[in-house]
Amino acid sequence: MKFGVVVFPGTWSDRDCGWVIDQVVGAKLQYLWHKDADLKGCDCVILPGGFAYGDYLRTGAIARFAPVMQEVGEFADRGGLVWGICNGFQILCEAGLLPGALIRNASLEYRCEWTHLSVERTDLAFTSQCAEREVIRVPIGHGEGSYFAEPAVLSRLEQNGQVVFRYCDAGGRVVPGANPNGSLHNIAGIINKRGNVLGMMPHPERCSEPELGGADGLKLFRSVAGHGLKVLMS
C-alpha cells in the first residue's frame, strides 16, 4: 500500500499525515504536489487538512481547480481510494466527488477539541479495523465543518448508508450536545456510493499515538494499509 499525500500551498496536515504513514504505520509515503498531473502509482490518495490557497474565497473553492485534482477525480472514477480529511473533505465536496457542503460552524468560531465519533460503516477500506458502532475519540480543528446538504440528498445518504462517522457522546449516543459544529444529522464523515471516496472533518492523523492523547486514528490508517494487503492476497 502506497499512500499519496497531496500538498497544496497552504496545506498543513500533509506533514502530520506523512509522519503517521511513514513513522507510525510504516507504510510507503509519496508527497504529491498540487501542480503535478501524476499520482505516481499511489494506492490511496489523501487530501489533508489546511487552508489550501488560503481558503479566502470559500473553503476548497480554488483547490478543486488544481492540476492534481483532475487526476484525483479520474483515480476515484477508476475505484482508487481517496481520503479527504478536514480541508480535504471540503475540497472533495467542492470538486463534486462527495455530495453536500461544509459551512461555517454554528458557533461561528473555530473549534479545536476532542470529539467522539460513532463508526457506522465497518465494511469499508477505511474502517475495516473498527468494530460495529464503535465509538472512537478523534479531535477536530476547523471553522467551517458544519455538514449541510439538501433534504433529498441527505435522505439518499441515509438510505444508502453513506454516513460513516457521526458525532456522539462518550457512550455512543448521537445527541445534539455532542455536535461541535451544527452538522446536519451530526455528520462527521461520509463516503461516496461506491465506497472508495471518504470525507471526514475530524483529524485521525492527530490521534495515532497515545502520547498525543489517543490512538484511535491509527485504526483508520491501519485499515487502509491492511486493505492493500487484502487486495494483494486476493
Binding site: Y110, G141, R206, G213
Partner: protein, 730 residues
Amino acid sequence: MSLDTVDSRRLREVALTPEEYRVIVEKLRRPPNAVELGMLGVLWSEHCSYKSSKALLRRLPSAGEAVLQGPGENAGAVEIGAGWAAVFKIESHNHPSAIEPYQGAATGVGGIIRDVIAMGARPIALLDSLRFGPLPGSRHHFDGVVAGIGGYGNCIGIPTVGGEVYFDECYTNNPIVNAMCVGLVRVDRLMRARAEGTGNSLMLVGADTGRDGIHGASFASVELDESSSERRPAVQVGNPFLEKCLLEACMDLAQTDAVVAVQDLGAAGLTSSVAECAGRVPGAGARIDVSLVPRRERGMTPYDVMLSESQERMLVVVQRGRESEVERIFQIWDLTSAVIGDVTDDGHLTVFDQTQVVARLPIDLLTDGAPLRRLASTAPEPAPSLHLDSLPPLLDPGESLLRLLASPNLCSRRPIFRRYDHMVGDSTVVAPGGDAALLRVKGTRLGLAMTTDCNARYCHLDPNLGAQHAVAEAARNIVATGARPLAVTDCLNFANPDRPEVYWELEETIAGLAQACRALEVPIVSGNVSLYNDSAGTSAIHPTPVVGMIGVIDDYGRRLEAGLKHEGDFVLLVGSSHNDLGGSEYLKVEHGTVAGRPPALDLAREGVVNRLILAAAKAGQLRSAHDCADGGMLVALAECCLLGGMGVRCPALRPEAPLRLDAAFFGETPGRFIVSVASRAMPELQTLARRHHVEISLLGMSGGDTVEFEGQLRLPLDRIRQAWETGLQF
C-alpha cells in the same frame, strides 16, 4: 544648520525631537533629506532603538551554558540536546491591537513567526500573553484579538499552545498583546542575519511592497490619543496564507548553502532590515535600488518603499552568482523574489532610485546613533498597606472558592484556547489548560516545555518583587511538567517612561528580572520593550513584564500533568505557607481591594523546591503536579480536580498559628506545588523531601466527585466546574 530649516511638523511626523535632529545634522555634517529623515525617524523610534531602555537592558543576564544566541538577533537560541536548538522570542503588538484588534493581533503573530524563521528554524508553537480591560466593556478588544490570533495561527498551521489572559481596569484603553514563537533547528543549521561578504546579493522575497504600515514603528512609540484611530492605516493587514508559503520556501532555502542570511522585515520595513543585517558585521554596508522592489501599487516614492511595513516579506543575503537558485525555490511556492541590491564594505546604506542616490547614511548612525535618553526616576507613593487584623474572617471557604473560580482572572481559558488550533504538528503532548505546554521533539524523547507568566498586580504593588515573581512562577510552571527551566524571553510593557514614576518602575523591574534570572539560572536570550502604553490623560498600565520561558525534559514519557489521575492517591502540598494575602486574587475578589505587598520571595528556596519536584518526577514518584499560584492552595487543588475529573477528600484544614485560615486556603505563598502520589511511593518522597529540607504536608486523598474539607466545605465537582467554565460568559 539651524533648526528653522526643518519644519517642526515634519519632525513630529517622524517622531524625532529637535535635539535628535541636531545630533543627526552634526554627525552627517549636512541636513538629511526627506527620505533620510524618514529612515532615521523610524530607526530612532523607541520601538526600534530602545533609546530609553537600552542602558537598563544591559543589566539582564544573557549568558549560559546552553545559550547559542543571545539578544541582538532576530531571536534567541539555546541548545536542548540531541543536536537540536530551540529558537524563541516574544514581541508586543499593543498599539496596533488597541486600534485594530483583529489585524493588530494577527500581524503580531505573523511578525514573531518570521523572527524564528530568520534563524533557520521551523516554528513549532505559539503562545500569547494578553491583558484587557474588564469584560464586557472591553469585549471589542478581547474578541478581536482572540479572533486575530486564531485567524493567523490556525491558517498558517502552527499550534497555539499556551499563554495567559488577565483583565484589569488599567488595560481598558491599552490592551497588551504579546506573541511568542518557539522553533526548532539543528544546532549546526542555526542561521544568523549577518550581511557577510562584499558583493553578495540582497534579495527581497515574499509579498509585494505597498503603502501599508508607514510610520508604524513611530506610532508604536507615542501615547495613544483621540486621533489614534486615524492611525489605522499604520496597522498592516496580515496574510497568513502567504506567510505559510514564505515559511516553507525559507525552510527549503535553509537546506541550501546559497544563502548567507535571512532577515525579517518587521517594524521600519526595508530600512531596518537592511541596516540591522549590515550593522551586525563591522564595516559592512549595503546598496539598494528602490526601483527594483516589487510593488503592490503605483506612484510609490522612495520614501514610501523604504518605510513601508507591508507584512510577509523577508530579506535574503545570497551568495553572489547563486541568485537564480534562490529565485527557483521561491517560484515553486509562487512567490516573488527580486535582487534589490548588494552588500558593500563602505559602512553606509546607500539607496538608489535607478541611477539617482536618494539617501546615503552611515549604518552605525542608523542602528546605534540614537542618543540614549537619560530619564528621571522617582519612586511613586507606596501602595496602600494591608492590615490583616482588620480583614473579616473567612466564613465559608466553599463559597469563596466558587466566586474565585468564576472570576475572570482565574476561570477556565477553554473558551479561548479551543478557538486556537493547538494540535497541528503532532507534537503537543501537554495541551493548553494546565501549567506549561509540552511539545515533543519528533525523532527524540526530548520534550520542550513553554509558558508565559506575569502577575501585573504584584508588579503594580512592587515592580522589583513582582518581576521576580514572574520569573519564579514561569519556572514553577515549567517544573510542574517535569522539565527543567532553560532560558527566558521577556516582553516589557510599560507606560510613558518620560514620567519619572514609570521610569522608576522600569528600573526596578529590570533589577528584579536580573536578580531572579541569575538565581534560577535562566538567561534572557531575547526580548522586546513596549513603552508608551498610556492613553492621553487617562490610565497608565501596570508594569507588565511578561516572562516567556522554555524548559526541557529528557524523556517526555516522564512528564507530569496537573490533573489528579488515580483514585486513592495521597494529595500533598509541597512547600510551606505563610500569611501571604497581599495583592492576592482573594483580596480583590472577596474584599474588593488591591493592597499590601506581594508575597516575600526566597529565590534560593524556589530553586530547592523546583529541584525536589524534578528529582521526584525523574524517580517516577509523582502522579501529578500543579503550580500553586494565583488564588492560592484551594484554587490550585480545585484545578487539579477539574483537570483530572476527580474529587478529593481532606480532613479539616487547621493551620498552626500564626497562619490564618484564609491565608492557608487562599494565600499566594510562592514555592509551592500540589502533587499526588501513590501511597506506596510516599516513604521515598518523604525521604527525598527531608533531604531537600522541603516541608510536605498531606492535604487529603483523591477520589469521588466532590471537593471536601471535612466540616469546612463540600462541593460537587459539577458545581465547581459550572462556576469555572462560565467565568468568561457575558
